[in-house]
């Protein structure tokens, strides 16, 4: 029998994400103040966006007083992966997610929150999701604020080593299921391989933004795998991420 996920379960799962966010948003705050952006602007950006790549890109457009259209295109491309994540996560929601609540909670879907939520065996309810997003949102905003007002108190070398934290979390999410399931291992390797092509081939890395490259890698590798190795109903349940 499946247990119901609670608010407390959510808080517990959200803690490591929040700690990771604290360091990244701190770096965002430091970077913003180095560019001469007032602390209330950078903090407000973090509170209204809750995304790393999109904010770093958006901040540089704001500092340069770039065009609205440039902002629109950049953010659409970088954040388009959330579109795929939202679709995937929408399949795991229980009845507690009414339409009004979906309008609200959708604002908090990030790479890490998505990864943790979608990896749950049980369906997701609003109590759990509220717990899950609480610390990440709080610490993302707080980290930006602290970074912006305290600037460079931490040695650069420490900030630099914190940069790998979120990637290490991603690795911790994808490796165990890759060991357990060959088809998962294939999709991970295929996606990583395509991603390396976008990263290392000059023509591609000069013309394709990293956010858009992620979307292409995801679609190509998932479509190939879904065609070659469609999953069975029981298998989805058994090792749902």
């Amino acid at each position: 029998m499946e247990k119901t996920l609670t608010f407390k379960n959510g808080i517990k799962d959200g803690l490591p994400i929040g700690l990771g966010y604290l360091s990244v948003s701190f770096a965002f705050g430091v970077g913003a103040s180095a560019l001469g952006v007032p602390f209330f602007i950078s903090t407000l950006i973090s509170m209204t966006n809750l995304t790393s790549a999109g904010q770093f890109a958006g901040l540089s457009i704001i500092v340069a007083l770039g065009g609205i259209l440039e902002m629109l295109i950049t953010e659409t491309v970088i954040n388009s992966r959330y579109f795929l994540m939202s679709i995937a996560l929408s399949q795991k929601l229980d009845a507690s997610f009414t339409t009004a609540k979906r309008f609200f909670y959708s604002a908090f879907i990030t790479d890490e929150i998505f990864a943790v939520a979608v990896s749950k065996k049980e369906d997701i309810n609003t109590n759990y999701f509220r717990g899950l997003i609480f610390l990440p949102y709080l610490l993302w905003s707080l980290g930006t604020f602290l970074g912006a007002i305290t600037g460079d108190i931490l040695p650069t070398i420490v900030i630099s080593s914190l940069g790998i934290a979120l990637y290490a979390m991603f690795i911790a999410i994808i490796i165990p299921p890759s060991i357990k399931s060959v088809s998962v291992l294939f999709v991970v390797l295929l996606s990583a391989a395509i991603s390396c092509v976008f990263y290392y081939v000059p023509v591609l890395n000069e013309n394709v933004s990293s956010g858009f490259a992620v979307v292409i890698c995801t679609l190509v590798s998932s479509v190939v795998m879904a065609l070659l190795f469609p999953v069975k109903e029981e298998k989805e349940k058994e090792d749902a991420v």
Binding site: I17, I164, I171
Partner: protein, 103 residues
């Protein structure tokens, strides 16, 4: 247009786009998908997204390539032992810091 107004409009555009991209599928995808192909696609997407975002970017989180490499290997090994997310992250950060301090 004043700079203040422009900054405000840019911030509004930024958060508006970011929100809409997340909200539209979340609100309007209500029914469970029946198609086996689409279900398979949705099953693979999370792994594919995370893998594409991680590799090879994880190697270049610091300016020292070897620090990134060591941090990545440590994370892979720790993850293979099924350690929790936060433990994997901390071990990886410590190993990166160690390499940066030594070299």
């Amino acid at each position: 247009m004043s700079d203040g107004l422009k900054v405000f409009l840019l911030m509004l555009t930024m958060c508006g786009v970011t929100y809409l991209i997340r909200m539209l599928p979340f609100v309007f995808f209500k029914r469970k998908v029946k198609s086996r192909f689409i279900r398979s696609l949705l099953y693979y997407i999370p792994y594919a997204v995370l893998s594409a975002m991680t590799f090879p970017a994880v190697l270049y989180t610091t300016e020292n390539f070897y620090a990134g490499l060591v941090g990545t290997v440590v994370a892979l090994i720790a993850a293979a032992f099924k350690l929790s997310l936060i433990v994997v992250a901390i071990l990886s950060c410590i190993s990166v810091l160690a390499v940066l301090l030594i070299f």
